[in-house]
Every structure is written in structure tokens, then in C-alpha cells.
Chain length 250, copies 2
């Protein structure tokens, strides 16, 4: 395969969960914001926003809600917002109705804008020798989080960024034949073919943490993360509706 | 701001809609797939898949459905799939129920995986001196497209990739003060403050195409793209439900 500094950083990506006690300087922040700004955007709607959380009380609350001690600790905390508020305001202030703002279609386009911007910033972060961890936990308690962040619209993902203070091992991914298809999608998936990959994942966990029970990819997928259980994360549709999003969902 | 080859490519991003008559070679494909593979993934579920469309008939049909002549023409066409099929199969073949596969929560996590992988591949593309255009039109006629692609789950975005055969001007984006917030989100947005930006956008269109009517950002947002209108894109919820996705939406 081809190599250059961008690609090499991408294929060596690992999440960083321990950072040195430093914060980003103004020039680093400006760089990340400018990259965020220049991400591709659906129909030129520019539906993404970024919040740099700086208030210690707010960071503490976000940390508690996500139950991850590295969130809001060393480094800098960002929230990526699927932001239909700005365009809704433009329409309202210029005397128009909300139009298609409440549709699933437009919400999904805004979600695309925001998640593309997330990864764009992530790649900029790593190109600068910094590290990050994506924070899906911002939606562990959606209604409470929305109040905590005081946002008009949907915070889809968080990102803790900083100077890495650990060197985690690269986590082994599914072989390409299971995820990247030439010509046609192969529906005849057979779980037995994942035996070798399961062994690789088990070895990864063994080496990383001697105390961790033997684990594998298929064990995780058939385990509790996808098993039915009660979770506040199922407030997500209610949260979106409260923000006037996806109201056409049937 | 800081500069390096990754960041410089990012802040100079523009969509390419005209490509030279060349296709990607195996090494380039392998590189893009490997980058795709190494994207961050929510709860290690690896819910994204990539389809490289190679059949001429299929490309033609996709081009027709999206009504964009550059789709499936010069260069290579990729479809990014929010793929909960694989993990559903793992659970079923190992004797488990589908668990949380049908929830909005898990669908959103899969959507995150896929859109992060999209931008990761996009950045790799540009780092290799290639260009791309994101294809939101894959959802212009969702039910028809699903049939055309013969996919078990949701194709969220397409990407046409190739050797650029045009040098479009950089499109001016919203000033950072409107999208990147320090400390707290500013809800007191006033559309009058966008006057200068509107002028910049108008000048951009003037210079690009003398025949195009005078346009601005706020004119676009208050115009037809967000006005209420009939569109097959509103089949999106129905399409997802047909695939067993987001069934808990209330």
C-alpha cells in the first residue's frame, strides 16, 4: 500500500485516554477550528457547530454523566453539535417558516456535516502529534446532557484532545474481506470464518491486560453491548423530538 | 495557525466533479480500504462497510437516480454503508436474538462509524493527490437505490474519487465565530451579522459563473433547499424501518 504522513497517521490511529497536564494553545485551537470549518457540507447548509467546553463545573458534570474519568480532565474537551438552530434562526428572522428543518432527511444531512467535521478535526489532531478519544458517552443520558451543555440542538459526539501520555497497542480490526467489497456486497456471511480474527482479538486482550477475561470479537457482539437492556440512551428519539428534529419519523 | 501537509490539504478542500479518465490502481484501493478499516469505531462494533461499485449497468442506474452525470463516470464510485447486517448475522448464527440492533441508539453509533470512515477515506484520497465529491444523492430515491445496490442495510453516502480534471475555487465558509464556540454556545444569533459573509458568498458565485443569479448564504437557506416540498428523500424513515433499523422511534 501507499504511504505518506497523513495515511501513516490514519492507519496507526489508536484512542488516547491518558493525556499530559497541558491544554491546547490558541494556535492549535485556531488550526482545529479552521479544519472544522472547511469540511465538506451537504447542500452548503453548514449544519455543524463545535463547542469547546472550558467551565470546570460543566466539565465535571459531563465527566459524571459519561462516567469516564479522563473526560474534561487533562487536555481539552470538545462537543460536536448537529446544529439546525442557526439555519432555523435565519429562516425565522427573515420571515420564513421552518420548512424542512424538522425532517429526518435534513437532520441526517446535518448529522453527516457534523460527523465528517469530527473526523476531519481528529485527523488534524493526530497530524499535530496530539491524540484524542471519541466520546459517545455524551448520549448516555441525553436529556440531562442537553441541559448541562445548554444547547439548542443535538450534541452527537464529544472528543477529548491532548498530548498523549500513553502508547496503547494498535487494536486489530476486521480483515478487509469482511468490510470492503469489490463489485458487490457479500450477503453470505458465515460467522465460522471469523475464527482466526477472534483469536487475534483474544491475543490482543491477553497482552493488554492479564486480568481481563478471555474476550473475542464475536463474544463481544453476542454479549451485553448488543443484548437487550434498559438504558437512558433510548431517550435519544425523545431528545431529538424535543429539539424539533426528525418529527416526520413514522 | 499551524501548517503541515495534512492540515494544508484539509483547509484547501474543494469538491471535484470532473475527473480524468483513469481508475484507481490496486495499491491505491488497498490504501483507502486500510484507512477505512482503521477508523475509530463505537464500542468496537465495527458497523461500517464499503462497496466499490464496478458494474457499468449498476453505475448507470446510480447516476440516473442521483441525476449527476459525473457519478459512476470517470474515476471510481464508492458507497458507504451503515452496516448492522454483519453483527446481526453474528448474533443470529450464534443463536442469540437481535438484541439492540433495532434501536435508534445502535443505529446512530453505526452511522457514526460509517461517517467517520467516510471522512477518513476522504482525507487519504486528498493526501494522495486525488480528489472526491460526496454523493448525498444516494438517498434521493432511497427505496429504489437499496434495490439497485442490493444491500441489506443503509447506504448513507456515496463518494466519487479520481484524478482531478478541474481546479475549482475555494468556497467561502461561515466565519468561525458562528460555528466554533469558546466556553458556551451563543444562542443570540442575529441574521443581520451575516451581511458581510453574504457579500463574500455572492462574490464567489459571481466570479464562478457569470450566468448564475446573484446568490448568498442566507438566500440559499431561506430558499428552496429548505422550503417545504415533495421529495422521495422523505422515504428515509420507511427505508430504515424496512431494514429493521430505528424501530423504537416514537
Amino acid at each position: 500500500m501507499l504511504h505518506n504522513s497523513t495515511v501513516d497517521a490514519q492507519i496507526n490511529h489508536r484512542s488516547i485516554r491518558k493525556f499530559k497536564d497541558e491544554v491546547l494553545n490558541k494556535e492549535q485551537l485556531k488550526t482545529l477550528y479552521t479544519v472544522f470549518q472547511h469540511t465538506a457540507t451537504s447542500m452548503f447548509m453548514q449544519n455543524a457547530s463545535l463547542l469547546h467546553v472550558t467551565d470546570p463545573e460543566q466539565k465535571k458534570k459531563i465527566q459524571e454523566l459519561g462516567n469516564q474519568k479522563y473526560v474534561g480532565a487533562e487536555g481539552d474537551l470538545f462537543i460536536f453539535i448537529v446544529d439546525l438552530y442557526r439555519n432555523q434562526q435565519i429562516r425565522q428572522q427573515l420571515g420564513k417558516d421552518d420548512g424542512r428543518v424538522h425532517t429526518t432527511d435534513i437532520f441526517f444531512q446535518a448529522m453527516e456535516d457534523t460527523l465528517l467535521a469530527f473526523q476531519n478535526v481528529a485527523n488534524a489532531v493526530e497530524s499535530m502529534g496530539l491524540g484524542y478519544v471519541p466520546l459517545g458517552t455524551v448520549n448516555d443520558h441525553p436529556l440531562e446532557m442537553l441541559k448541562t451543555l445548554n444547547l439548542p440542538k443535538f450534541p452527537v459526539l464529544g472528543m477529548q484532545v491532548g498530548v498523549p501520555d500513553q502508547e496503547p497497542q494498535l487494536k486489530p480490526r476486521l480483515p478487509l474481506e469482511y468490510t470492503c467489497f469489490e463489485g458487490s456486497y457479500k450477503k453470505d456471511f458465515d460467522v465460522k470464518d471469523l475464527k482466526d480474527y477472534d483469536d487475534v482479538v483474544t491475543t490482543y486482550y491477553d497482552l493488554r491486560d492479564a486480568n481481563r477475561r478471555i474476550d473475542s470479537f464475536t463474544k463481544q457482539i453476542t454479549g451485553k453491548k448488543l443484548d437487550n437492556h434498559e438504558t437512558d440512551r433510548d431517550q435519544l428519539p425523545e431528545e431529538l423530538h424535543k429539539q424539533g428534529l426528525c418529527l416526520d419519523w413514522k
